[in-house]
């Protein structure tokens, strides 16, 4: 808002019509461009925000996908989750994450079945061979790539031991116990710690088995995927 000068009137001066008019005209002009120089800190509360149209003002980009069918995953390459509908969220406008802002993503589903070779390849599990994994991927308009975190779930509770370790031979149960029908989830809070904005055209969930020699496939059903951006 431009400064508004008050006419300098000393005792005995004749009041000037033009000067008075100019004062009120300047006020009228300035009142149309009020900015931060005219307001106190913390003057704006919830009552000043126009929410009649329910247009997201601060916490935006909420979106959700829910499942309508099951999906069988049988690849060791991260594959898009599609339970009747693709678990990909594409905002109408790309999400722009400014420095310090947070992108949250949450995915939950139920692993309902597992197909495995019988017997398993070995009596011991090494690495993550008896595991399946979930990850979030995104596209920034140029590249499609993954967020760094991966959630890993195992189906088997076979012992994880190095069969070549020296020592007294361990007793290994002949029974293979497999863990299925469990609710699994993948959650991410991604903070933009760079100096510039990050852009996301879409975000999706992907899944895979770590080793198809141990897990032929697993089935997921009844799930949901949601995102939001926390701004300040």
């Amino acid at each position: 808002m431009p400064n508004v000068s008050v006419p300098d009137i000393a005792p005995g001066d004749t009041t000037s019509a033009s000067g008075t008019n100019t004062f009120f005209t300047d006020l009228q002009t300035a009142s149309a461009t009020i900015d931060g120089t005219n307001t106190r800190s913390e003057w704006c509360s919830r009552y000043h925000i126009d929410q009649t149209a329910a247009t997201p003002t601060f916490n935006t980009n909420f979106a959700q996908v829910v499942s309508s069918a099951q999906q069988v995953i049988n690849s060791a390459v991260f594959t898009q989750v599609n339970m009747g509908t693709a678990f990909r969220i594409t905002p109408a406008q790309p999400i722009v994450l400014a420095p310090g802002q947070v992108l949250r993503a949450h995915f939950d589903t139920l692993v309902t079945a597992m197909v495995t070779p019988a017997p398993p390849p070995a009596n011991f599990v090494t690495l993550n061979n008896d595991c399946y994994q979930f990850q979030f991927w995104y596209n920034d308009g140029i590249t499609t790539t993954n967020f760094p975190c991966i959630s890993t779930y195992s189906y088997s509770i076979l012992p994880r031991l190095d069969p070549g370790a020296p020592g007294v031979p361990l007793r290994v149960s002949a029974l293979t116990k497999k863990r299925t029908v469990q609710r699994v989830n993948h959650t991410m809070c991604y903070v933009n710690d760079t100096a510039g904005n990050l852009t996301f055209n879409w975000i999706e969930v992907r899944a895979r088995v770590v080793n198809v020699a141990w897990i032929t496939s697993f089935t997921i059903n009844q799930g949901d995927f949601n995102i939001m951006v926390g701004r300040f």
Binding site: S18, T39, E42, T180, R183, N226
Partner: protein
């Protein structure tokens, strides 16, 4: 709209005092509640201008930018249990009738339309249903959202489905696992299912009003209990 002086003055004409007074009255009225959004330059309201959250909140943040966080329950005491049984289903112990799991929910009031995230984790432990030893089913659990006093079938959210406990029938073990689950989806499903941790984080977009969010279960055990309950609700006004 911007301020408008009601009177202007003519050169060489004496200024009328009441007219000048009226201009100042109009100015005072404008400054005292007459400023509207169109008078404020675009992109001029910054975080410095926004009132900080009240200290009754969990976090001292902008109350309407990050939302309220209401933690219903955090309980890790092994002895703090909510018991349940299939015998509340009087005529058919395997009927799909839900019961609310105590201390897993909360009643919230939204003053305006808001986005809500409900996060929950819980552990269920059960035992065999001795009256139905020939048939065994898993105990289902899911999230329920209701408003008002009437519970509708659509209030139970199918996409949040999980199973916290099932019984094992060694006699029909088919994969040499030592245990199996039966009659889960109408066909034999093999696997070790007992004692599953249930967790979920679900998002709602809700108009203003009063809502009840909780976990519900179909218990198919003679005796079971829930413990290690942890739930919280985040409310984000737009």
């Amino acid at each position: 709209m911007a301020f408008t002086a009601p009177n202007t003055f003519t050169t060489l004409t004496a200024i009328n005092g009441p007219l000048l007074r009226d201009n100042f009255v109009a100015l005072r009225q404008y400054l005292d509640g007459g400023v509207v959004a169109s008078d404020i330059a675009a992109a001029t309201v910054t975080t410095t201008d926004i009132v900080r959250g009240e200290y009754v909140n969990v976090v001292p943040d902008h109350q309407f930018t990050t939302g309220d966080i209401q933690t219903q329950f955090t309980e890790i005491d092994d002895f703090s249990r909510s018991y349940n049984t299939s015998h509340y289903k009087q005529y058919d112990l395997f009927a799909d009738i839900y019961s609310i799991i105590p201390n897993t929910g909360k009643r919230i009031v939204l003053e305006q339309a808001a986005n809500v995230i409900y996060s929950v984790g819980i552990s269920g432990v059960g035992n065999a249903n001795y009256q139905l030893t020939g048939q065994k089913k898993a105990s289902k659990i899911l999230v329920r959202l209701t408003t008002g006093d009437l519970i509708l079938p659509t209030d139970d959210i199918a996409q949040t489905q999980g199973y916290v406990f099932t019984e094992d029938n060694v006699a029909t073990d088919v994969d040499n696992s030592g245990n199996t689950s039966s009659l889960l989806f109408g066909t034999e499903v093999t696997g070790f299912m007992s004692r599953r941790w249930y967790c979920n984080r679900y998002y709602f977009s809700l108009p203003k009003g009063t809502y009840n969010i909780s976990l519900v279960t179909i218990s198919n055990c003679d005796k079971m209990y829930f413990s290690a309950r942890n739930s919280n609700i985040e409310i984000f006004y737009r």
